[in-house]
């Protein structure tokens, strides 16, 4: 099998269609399992009571917001450097889902902040840098929408996306670099996590669900973008056949 044929948007369109159920169905199962463990198995926190249960969606949403941004910048850069249409389309497809997760992390964070800190919003380093991330996503989407020629829109978006990557480590390390109100990392790469095993299980399962969901939805959006941009190519292929 020649895998390089999938680098063309029309071939990838069919592959994406076959792949979507393989991500969408496990995503649904993991969402349900994660919510079950998060609400019925995980104990009440001794400090934050039941308010901490917001974590099971807040933390995965925040991680996905950052991760999808880096991925978007990577594909935008790839499309720009190698003039690869499909990579640029992938970047556009990632933007809205990334923005949705970033928005979700801000809203759920506000709903978590009110009972634990006493305020929906404070201009804390982590929250401010996450808000900037949302603005970067909105900037990328608006910039692409404002330019008629898709190839030029891809290039302009790529510059913005790549420059904005600097914000991601700022968000991640903000709780260490500044004295912030936001709590530190619960799960670390080195050392033990600071929460009970069922809480950790629910958190990781929800993260898996959000990841699988993102793949399914981004592939679905990519199919729409391919249809929009390659309409003429498809019609020509049909006439020629």
């Amino acid at each position: 099998m020649n895998i390089y044929k999938y680098a063309t948007p029309t071939a990838f369109y069919q592959l994406a269609g076959k792949l979507i159920p393989w991500f969408a169905i496990p995503a649904t199962v993991l969402f349900l399992l994660g919510l079950y463990i998060g609400f019925f198995v995980a104990p009440t926190d001794f400090q934050q009571g039941d308010a901490y249960r917001i974590m099971f969606i807040h933390v995965p949403a925040a991680w996905m917001g950052m991760f999808l941004y880096v991925l978007m910048a990577f594909y935008a850069g790839l499309g720009w450097a190698f003039n690869a249409r499909l990579a640029s389309m992938m970047a556009s497809a990632l933007a809205i889902t990334g923005a949705m997760f970033t928005f979700l992390s801000l809203v759920t964070g506000a709903l978590w902040g009110k009972p634990t800190w006493g305020a929906y919003w404070v201009w804390d380093a982590r929250m401010t840098s996450t808000l900037i991330l949302l603005f970067l996503y909105i900037g990328f989407i608006s910039l692409q929408a404002a330019i008629d020629d898709p190839r030029r829109a891809d290039r302009a978006g790529a510059v913005l996306a790549i420059v904005g990557v600097i914000n991601v480590p700022i968000i991640y390390f903000s709780v260490q670099w500044w004295n912030t109100l936001h709590q530190g990392a619960t799960i670390r790469l080195i050392g033990k996590p600071t929460i009970a095993p069922p809480m950790l299980a629910a958190l990781l399962i929800m993260l898996g669900a959000c990841w699988l969901y993102s793949v399914a939805v981004v592939l679905l959006r990519l199919r729409c973008i391919i249809l929009e941009r390659e309409q003429n190519a498809a019609v020509v292929a049909e006439v020629a056949a």
Binding site: L35, T44, D50, V107, T108, L111, I226, A234
Partner: protein
């Protein structure tokens, strides 16, 4: 929810609205695109 019901359920309600909304809008976008141009059906291998 120990008095935190509004915040906890509010968070999950917004999550459901955003995720459900995204999936719904994408499905509709794709349906409209396929309707717009029948020639595109060739891409589906039909």
């Amino acid at each position: 929810m120990g008095g935190y019901g509004f915040y906890v359920w509010g968070s999950y309600l917004i999550t459901a609205i955003l995720i459900g909304g995204e999936v719904f809008l994408l499905m509709r976008r794709k349906k409209n695109l396929l309707k717009q141009n029948r020639g595109i059906h060739s891409l589906e291998g039909k």
